[in-house]
């Protein structure tokens, strides 16, 4: 629904590049990624979050979106070649960082994640199997 709204908004501003919707998209992604990270932080309780693939993908994307946010926000304000060059450099640094993080994430092997729903707490099956009846 959000993306559909962005699309419709973009249709009206198609001639302007970059559009305001891009800024909202970036903000939206930053919020979603932060929310995702906090959710993962609460869900995973048995292994370090940094040993999961999804964490590093989220980190890569967060760096990308937050690093390019001001870039997108301010580039349209000036057509000066110096600003464009600086913008391009920031974009490249952030994108390379993101790509390195994504590569590292995909190269690493993920350990078995144990969420708070299947924590292997010492079970009391021994007690339940006790045959107490004298039958």
């Amino acid at each position: 629904m959000v993306f559909l709204a962005f699309f419709v908004f973009d249709l009206f501003q198609i001639k302007k590049v970059p559009t305001n919707t891009l800024i909202f998209e970036f903000l939206f992604f930053i919020v979603v990624i932060v929310f995702f990270l906090f959710q993962r932080m609460n869900d995973i309780v048995s292994i370090p979050i940094s040993s999961t693939i999804s964490f590093w993908i989220a980190v890569g994307l967060l760096i990308y979106f937050s690093g390019n946010f001001f870039n997108i926000l301010l580039t349209k304000l000036s057509l000066d070649p110096k600003i464009r060059a600086q913008s391009g450099m920031i974009y490249m640094i952030v994108t390379i960082s993101k790509n390195i993080l994504l590569c590292l994430a995909l190269l690493g092997s993920e350990k078995n994640e144990i969420t708070d729903e299947n924590i292997p707490f010492p079970n009391d099956e021994g007690f339940q199997k006790l045959d107490i009846s004298n039958n």
């Binding site: 609460n42 937050s66 946010f69 001001f70 021994g126 006790l130």
Partner: protein, 253 residues
């Protein structure tokens, strides 16, 4: 917009500082997530360790309880049933030596009485292991029976009322509940100096509620938890482990 009027240097600086700020914020969030999650893992490990220790204490308590129960049965058999049967054998041996008919009849009669006593004793031991009333008639009858016996002894006034116990539980569940009630009553009689004990049973939402109240000196939940985690207090640990098996809870106030 004032930004449109800003000069190139201003925009350049704002872009640099803004990007730096956003990246710092992002890295800050990432570091916070990593460290907080590690803290949670440490806490979970501590909880796991505590749970394991608790399980170990309960297991030890149940083993100790089993051993004590075996020792009690062995003592009952050795001290009571053993001498009775030995005496009966002496009377019967006398029959082989003494040929006089009247004395033979007397010794047979005495041996019979002693064997009757031994049978009664063994029956009592057996009943203490698994009360026949509980097995045959259920928790309500067994509990009421127990309370009547306590009341009958004249030491204190005990009464039990079951309001909602239409369907019987499984025998092993009933036995566990009965043992918990027995242990609690035993503790009340031993330590509280109570004048009356009253048990009420209710059921709601597929759960059974048993409430025991008395007018003696009691303990509160904190004391119960403390005693339960101590190395002593075998009875309380048995109560806790039985309630755990039943997936129940105990509240003291």
């Amino acid at each position: 917009m004032f930004l449109l009027e800003a000069d190139t240097t201003g925009i350049s600086r704002l872009m640099f500082l803004g990007t730096l700020g956003m990246l710092t914020l992002a890295i800050g969030i990432i570091v916070f997530v990593i460290f907080h999650q590690r803290k949670v893992i440490r806490y979970q490990l501590q909880m796991k360790k505590l749970e394991e220790e608790k399980q170990q204490i309960l297991l030890n308590a149940s083993i100790r309880f089993q051993e004590e129960e075996r020792q009690r049965i062995a003592a009952d058999l050795h001290d009571d049933a053993g001498p009775l049967l030995a005496t009966a054998r002496l009377y019967l041996n006398e029959n082989l030596v003494n040929q006089e008919k009247a004395q033979q009849l007397q010794s047979i009669y005495s041996a019979k009485q002693i064997i009757d006593d031994a049978i009664l004793l063994i029956r009592n031991i057996s009943h203490s292991l698994m009360p026949p009333t509980l097995k045959n008639f259920g928790l309500e009858s067994a509990t009421t029976d127990m309370f009547q016996k306590i009341s009958g002894s004249g030491t204190l006034n005990a009464s039990a009322r079951f309001h909602d116990y239409r369907d019987r539980l499984k025998v092993d569940q009933e036995l566990l509940i009965f043992r918990v009630i027995q242990e609690l009553i035993n503790n009340i009689m031993k330590h509280s100096n109570a004048g009356f004990i009253h048990l009420t049973q209710n059921a709601a939402n597929n759960k059974i509620y048993l409430r025991i109240h008395h007018d003696g000196k009691g303990i509160v939940q904190a004391e119960f938890d403390k005693l339960n985690h101590n190395a002593n207090g075998l009875g309380l640990k048995n109560i806790a482990s039985r309630i755990k098996v039943l997936k129940g809870r105990i509240f003291l106030k």
